[in-house]
Structure formats: structure tokens, C-alpha cells
Symmetry: C2
Subunit: 615 residues, 2 copies
Amino acid sequence: MLEKFVDVLIGKPLPNEQTSHEKYNILFGLAIMASDAISSVAYAAEEILVVLIGVLGLAAYNWLGWVSLMIIGLLFILTISYVQIIRAYPQGGGAYIVAKENLGIRPGLVAASALLIDYILTVAVSASAGVAAIISAFPALEIHKISLVVGLIIILTILNLRGVSESSKIFSIPTYLFILGMITMIIYGFIKYSIYGATAPMINTPIKATGALSIFLILRAFSSGCSALTGLEAVSNAVPNFKKPSQKNAKIVMILLSSLILFIFGGTSLLARFYHAIPTKNVTVLSQIAFGVFGRNFMYYFIQITTSIILIMACNTAFTGFPMLMYVVARDGFAPRQFTMKGKRLSFSIGIEVLSLIAGVLVLIFKADVHSLIPLYSVGVFLSFTLAQTGMVLHWKSSTETGWKKRALINGIGAIVTIITTLIIIYEKALAGAWIVIALIPILVIIMASIKRHYNKVAEQLRASKEDISNIELGKKFTHICIIPIASLNKATLNALQYARSITPDVIALNVSIDKTSIEKLKTKWAELNTDILLVTKYSPYRQIITPLLKYIEIISNAASENEKVTIILPQFITHKWWGNFLHNHTGFLLRENLLRNKNIVVSTYPYHLNDEEL
Amino acid sequence: MLEKFVDVLIGKPLPNEQTSHEKYNILFGLAIMASDAISSVAYAAEEILVVLIGVLGLAAYNWLGWVSLMIIGLLFILTISYVQIIRAYPQGGGAYIVAKENLGIRPGLVAASALLIDYILTVAVSASAGVAAIISAFPALEIHKISLVVGLIIILTILNLRGVSESSKIFSIPTYLFILGMITMIIYGFIKYSIYGATAPMINTPIKATGALSIFLILRAFSSGCSALTGLEAVSNAVPNFKKPSQKNAKIVMILLSSLILFIFGGTSLLARFYHAIPTKNVTVLSQIAFGVFGRNFMYYFIQITTSIILIMACNTAFTGFPMLMYVVARDGFAPRQFTMKGKRLSFSIGIEVLSLIAGVLVLIFKADVHSLIPLYSVGVFLSFTLAQTGMVLHWKSSTETGWKKRALINGIGAIVTIITTLIIIYEKALAGAWIVIALIPILVIIMASIKRHYNKVAEQLRASKEDISNIELGKKFTHICIIPIASLNKATLNALQYARSITPDVIALNVSIDKTSIEKLKTKWAELNTDILLVTKYSPYRQIITPLLKYIEIISNAASENEKVTIILPQFITHKWWGNFLHNHTGFLLRENLLRNKNIVVSTYPYHLNDEEL
């Protein structure tokens, strides 16, 4: 029943062969990758205006375009750089792979930690922001805010455990609706402005200049606006997730994505200027633009609703990116190997579960408050951008490709700009919470390096040298001693005895009972068996079963010589009922764990399948 | 590290031999058993007065004594009855055992369900009431109420997982302080009243009669006051927990406990009359009595504080009783067998954990509100009292002991009184929440009966008849086929190969790799091994390891004849580091689970112990 319930939730297990069908084509891939990058665009112009208007007043609108142009320039550089990365690294991995291969393992782990933290924050921030958008529309839901965010994360977890392709189909609809809405708004807004000029703005707060223009102010605005570019790296991380030819498809998606960002970000920046949108607490800049362009009609609500949905969908990028990156990191030995295992539906189940668990805890700690989560957010992105760009510079330097200088120059400019951005973000936001990320990254790097070291040491201890291999005497004859713990003589134990006896004549049946009558009963039955197999019975007055069993086995195994192998055979009956594990085989389980952990004893499980229909 | 943390929390594992040292002597046993029973005494007089004063006004004080006398009469009957049960049933089990043996299995399960529910409610109610008492003193804690109650339950869980004796030592101090305080208050109160007469009461609400005396009113007051007697059955359930001679010690504790209830309940009832305590919302009757006797001095606060502590301690009775009853029920096959297993510290860990989990959930659902929990509380106790008493009547009828008629009469009166009380409680409280308990009992009975049926059917399927036993051919020669899944040739796999080869010449090494180079590497190494053991390699392009392994093993096992036995040998390396399980052996684990569940294949684990100091 429990299994059926899980099946209903996450879908029937998929056979292995379906793996390639679960991959992205261009349209679904774009939808999956777009939500994170594009939803942040919806906020970027506002972020820039917040910085500029406070200081420059109305003059801000003149500088908004310049800052936007700088960001679009950075977008170009990053896009070219990432297309180059996709070409150079078809196996995926993005900043982590690039940094690791060109800068070394530590920088690679720094990039990986930064990206992993960012994926988690993407889930926490986007889910919280999405719910906040819903709550703006339905203020009555305010008291359920945290529950709604957590519920949302749970729903996304289930959808993603169902497998990527199905999820992307679900998620592509609102993504494309949002894109459609934005394009319509930008085109219609331009036409309307060129014919009628500006309409009355939605918000009419008087604004005035309080300071002067400075390079630092522009850089600050620029760094705030850079939130438009978060999510760009997702495509390069997920190259192997694309349908074949996966590199080509990934490149097309990368370029389409950048074009969309360019159009939507550039368009909204200009519209913000045309329609004099002013950042305020309650109404977003995007909402003011939509009001300016459409008035309060159907299209206004369409933009509002698709915006709030795409914010929720932005979470999903992380549900794709985090498990994929964990897979790559785990494959390299820097994370537990479970992360390389695909689940029933061919998704990286453990990665998805870990992501949603940590993000859920973050939401609870920060009480789903976007404003306390945001300062943690952008450090990681730009740190990983910087590492990837720097890595690419070294990559071109060491390559013999023609035109490497030009490529290295592009990445070099990108590296300088992103490192400056990173430093500015750290300077501005360290005290507001970014210190958590700055402290966490070295901790994660140390943990990852320790895991790798552990795996290496295990491999070293296990390594069989040429001598080990040629010296091992595979024909060595051992004397086998089989011990079978039995509670009574039943079909399962009888079969196990028969099996043991066919391996070795030295079989010992071992019984521990808490009352003496069952010992007598067993002895009587044993006599009927008419065998020379030794039956050892122990009376245990304190109701303990496992300790006396272990003690006796220990005595035998300690007495065994080097030519003797002790094997414990545990008869186990199997039921396929979902509650079977609650009701059976606990003694066997504990015995097995204990013997394997503490003794050099082979532990065999001899199954006896019960007829489940009669149970 | 995790294990060390657990060790610090619940104490180092105890060796088996310490079992008898963990048992109660009289003083600690009394402290363990007393808190539940005595803490409810603290409320009993108040419960009676609430009923009487509302109707009778000042005349209530005249009837309080009579109702108290009735309850004391019931206390006598129950005490004699339970002493008789302790004598008749030294192995413990209380109402469950008595009902099961004399009335049949179903009534036994009804009693067990009623008691189990009541233990859970004891935890939820007492913890909530204890915290409510603290909050009365420190109103600022009000906002943390639920967290405090849950925290309290967690602390009690940890203390109880540490083992009974240590817990009882901790718990006995406040219990005896409370008893000391109550005795002092009663004696001093009597002396003071006999010399000076009544002092000015703490509360001076005018009260007046609103109705007339009726038998029904007295019975209602009686049933409310019966809460004084909850917890009485704990001693008879826990007989085997006492030090030897356990029956004698349990009887002494039973009589001491009843004497304490008699003295404290009788004394507070009389003092309530002398000092005209009036039930109100904010100040308990006990608090008013303490004020009347001592004024607002040290002793007043002493009584208040020990009362609130003993309410918290009352939870602990359930932490002793619930796992013990689950043990008895599980031993009879009506509950999963895990409940018969003792934990590291020789306590029934699973029972303790289940109890605190359900109680914790109840606290969350009912928001730690005592008043919503109370109506669920007393149905179970008196239902189990009734079943125990009725069972004892039949017990005496079928016994040949001299004086059985007198004993049967005592229990018969008890049965009649308790069944009337039960019916009154159901009538009064069904709609207020007792319906949950009334509905839950049959559900639990059905589940318990199903578990027993399942165990019986499994036993039936497993049962080896005389023919099975005499027909089994223990000397049968099987052809053994051993399959060893290997990722590479290392020390663990080499040893496993050697072991397999010593069992049978038919050994197959099976490798599934996700890249072709590692297959080539393995083949080269294998050649050095210079063996005729078959190496089968499979290339898995979709990164799946387990499915191809299972498929190949399935092909072999399906082809095996009846005289052939397929054994899978899983080389497993063991580390004792606490994080070892996070990092290793997942493939082996999944393979093992899958094979045992689905195939008639023996699965052996061949351990290779790593040198942990070097890891």
C-alpha cells in the first residue's frame, strides 16, 4: 500500500531504456532553463532603479539605460563564454568543471560549493517570492505564508521525482505564456509610446535627487542589476540532459535564452523610463509598466499572474541543476556516491530530496522572508562566474586553437568584470547575511575534499598490487563451518540446513530460547530429523536473544584457524506485503549488522518466499 | 561522531548482565509509580467540587466528604483487587492479561487498547498540564507553550532511553518532596484548624445553590473525582520490573501507593472543606488550600512548585508502562515483535520512541491545551478497570481457593461500580472528544488481531510437518553456482573470489561498467590472475549499474535446475566511522534487497575490514 501510494505520487518506475526519452528537446529545454534567468529579469530594472533614484532622482532614468547597456554587454560576454564552455565541455559541469580543469581542484570545489548554495537559495528565494506575489493578490493567505512556501517546495519535489520530461512539459506552458506576455507588452508599449507618448504613471510619488553621480554609484546599480544574469550557467551544467546532438541543442538554447533576456530586460528597462515606473514597497516596477502600457485590463492581470507563476517555476531550474551538479561532483569522488544513482523514474532522487530538505529548512529559519534571503543570493553566482571566466582564460592560453587570443580576451574582460562585481556584492552585502555563504563555502570545500581523501584512502587500502593478484591462491581449500541460528524447525530453517550441509559437513544449528519448554520441543523435533548436524541450545533467562547468539558465534570464530571460514546462514522468510518489514526478521537484521561490523564472518541470507495471497 | 552523540544522550550501551540491576527497589519503584496516581489526586477534590458547588452551593462541602468516602471505598476495592492480580499474575500485564485469560482474547485486546491510549494521553495531558502550571507562574512563557511541552516530552524520552533505574533516581526526588509537602500541609492544616478554626479564604466568590441533590449528581461528582484513581494499574503491569522478590515488592508498593492516595486525597478533601476552597479558573483548589494553611510563605511556593514538577513527572509512568505493556502484547503476537527487543540501555527503546512520537503529535494537534485533551482521558482507564475486575470475578469462580466467594464479591462490586463509572463518563464526555477513544479502541483491536492472524498464517506456512522433517534429504548434493559482482579487482573482491572458489568450481565474476576503459583495465588485471573463473563484463551506456546486474543474475537463476543453487557473494568493505554508511556500499545494499525480495537466491556478504585509523 505504501509503495502504491509512492507510485501514485511519483509515477510508476521507468525501465532503464527510457533514459534518453527523458531528455530535453530545444523547446522544453528552453522552458526548463528560462524560468530562473527570465524571472530574475523581471526584477533587474527595479533593482537598478532602487539604487539610482534614491540618489539621482529623475536623472536616474537617463542612467538606467547606460547601466542596462553595461549589463547587456556582460550578458554578451557571458553568453559567448558559456557557448564556448558548452563546446569545450560537452559532459556538463559548468563553472565547477571549468575551474577544476583549468585552475585546480580547490577552485573547482569553491565553484561547486558556490553553485550548490545558490541552487538551494534559488529554491528558497523563488518559492518565497512566488508565494509573496500570490499573497499580494490574496492578503488573506498571509498567515499561511510559511506553510504555502513549504507546500510549494514539496509539490515541486514530487513533480521532479516523477522525472524531468514530464516536469518540463508542465513547466513550459506558464514559461511560454510569460514570455508571450512580456513580448506583447514590450512591442505594444513601444508602439503606444511612439504614438501617444507617456501616459499618467500608476504611482505618483515625488522624487528628487539627494546626491551626485559617481562611478561607484553606477557600479552599485550595475551589481544590483546583475541579478538579471543569475541562472545563465544552468545550460552549461546540463548539457548531457539535452537530446542528441546535445551540445548543439544546448548552444541553441543558450543563445535563445540570452536573446530573450536581452529583449525582455532591455525592453522593460526602456519601458520603465518611458512610463516613469518608481520602485515602491507594494507595487513592483513590472506591475507599473504593465499598468502604463495596458491600463488595468485583462493583459495587466495576465502579466501579473504569469509573473507570479514564473517565479515559482524558477525554483525548478534548481531542481534540475542541483542534482545534476551533485552527480558530477559525486562522480569525481567529492560527494557521497549515492548522488550518482538514478531513482525509479530515472531522476537523481537523492539530489532532489537533499535540495528540497535544505531549502525547506532555510525557508523555516528565515520565515519565508525574501528580503532576509536575498543578501545571501548573488555572491555565489558571481563567484562561480568569476571562476569559470578565469578558468576559460587559462583554457585558451593552453589551447592551440586559432583565435585563442581573442577568446581569451573576451573571457578575460568577463573575469575582470565579474570579479569586481563579486567584490562589490561582498562589500555591500556581507553584513546583511552574505557572510553565511562566505563562511559556508570553505566548510563545504573542506568536507568535499575530506570525502575525496576518504575514498582515495579506501581505494588505497583495497588496492591489489601485482603481487597480491599473482600470489592469491584461488584454489585454496578452506574448511567451511556453517552456523545457522534457528528459532524452531520450520520449512525455512530446514531448507537452510540442507543448503548449509551441501556446502560443508561442519554445520551447527544454534538456538537461543527464553523459555525451557521451547528448547525441549525443538530437541524432540530435532531427533526426528535423524541427522548428525550439531544442535546447540542456549537458555537465556533475561529475554535477550541476540547477545547470546553473538557470543557463541564469537567463540567459534575466534577458535577458527586460518584455513577455516565461518559462515552464518540466516534463514529469512520474505513477504511482499508492504507491512512485512514492520513485522519480521528483526533478529536476523540486527545479527547481520553486528556480525559484519565486528567480525570477519561471512553472513548469508537464505530466503524462503511465503505465499503472500494466503497472508 | 553520531554514535558518540547518541551515547552522550542516552548513555553508553549496557552489557546484558546489568538487566537485573536496572530493576526497581521499593523506594524507587514507588517514586516511579506514584507520580501519575498522586498528581491526579491533586486535582480530584477540585473535580468533585466543580460538579457539586455549581448545583448545591455551600452544601457541597457536606457532600464532598461522602463522595470522597465513596472514592476511597473504590480505592480499597481496587487496591485489594490489584494486590490479588499481582499475586495471580506475577509476569505482569494488568488488565490486559487478566481480561485475556478470563474473558477471552477480544476483551483482552480491548483492555490493552484502552490502556495504551491512556498511556499516550497521560504523556500528552500531564506534560501539557505541567507546562501550564509553569506558565501560570511565568506568563511570559505563554507564547512558547507548545515548544515547551514538546521539549519536555523529548527530554523525558531521552531520560527513559537511558534506562529505568537512572530515570527513577532522578524522578524520585521531586516525587518525595511533593509527598513530604502534602503530608506536612495536611498535618499542619489539621492542627491549625483544630486550634484556630478556619482562616479567611483566598478566594471569596459568593456561591449559591442552583439545583437540588440527586443520586445522579452524586454519581457525576463521583465519576469526576475518580480521576484520583488513574495510574493505579501501573504497578500490576510492571511486576517483572521490580527487584526480586518482585511480587512481594510490587504488593508493598501497591499498598504504600494506595495509602498515600488515601491520606493525600482524604486529607485534601477535608482541608478543602475546612478552608472553603472554591474552584475558579485561575487558582487551583490545592493552591487555595496551601494558602489557607500556610499563608503566602515558603511552604506555599514549595507546594506549588512540587505540584507542577510532579505533574511533569506523571508523564514518566507512561514511559514505564507503555513499553512494558507493548512488550507483553507483542510477546503474545498482537503487536510487531520489535516491541519485545531491549535497546542498548536495556530499556524497550521502540516502545518509548513510539509513545513519545504519538504523544508529541497529539500535543501539536490539540495545541497543548489540557482542556481539550482531558475528555479523552478517563474512558480508557475505567474501561480497563472494568475488564480487569470482571475478569477477576471469573478467575475466582473457576478457582478452588478457599474464600473465593468473598474475593469474587469484592471484585464483583468493583466491576459493577467501575462499569457504571465508565458508562457515566462515556455519557458525559462522548461529544467532548471521548468519541475519538471510543472509535479508536475497536480499530486498534482489529489491527492487533490482524497482526496475530498474520503471524499465525506465517507460522502455518512455515510449519514443517513430521513428513517434511523426516523426508528432507539433508545429504542432498547441490551444484553451487556463485556469482560475484565486482567493480574492480581489489583486496575485498580477491578474498571473496577465493572464498567462492573454495565452495564451488562454478564461479562467475560479473562486472558492469559505465565506461569502456575500466572494462579494459579490469580485463588486463584479470589476465594476471591466471584463473579459469569466468569474467563477464557488461557495458552500460545509461549509467545504470543495478539493473544490468539484476538482469544477468536473473538469467542465470532462471536457467538453474532444481539441483543447482545460485549464491550471490557481495564483497563489502566495512569501516567503523560513523559516516561510513553515507559513503559506501549502496550498490550492494540495493542488490541484496532486490534479490532477496524477488528471487530465490542466497545472498552472501563477504566483509573486508578496513583499517579505520588510516581513513
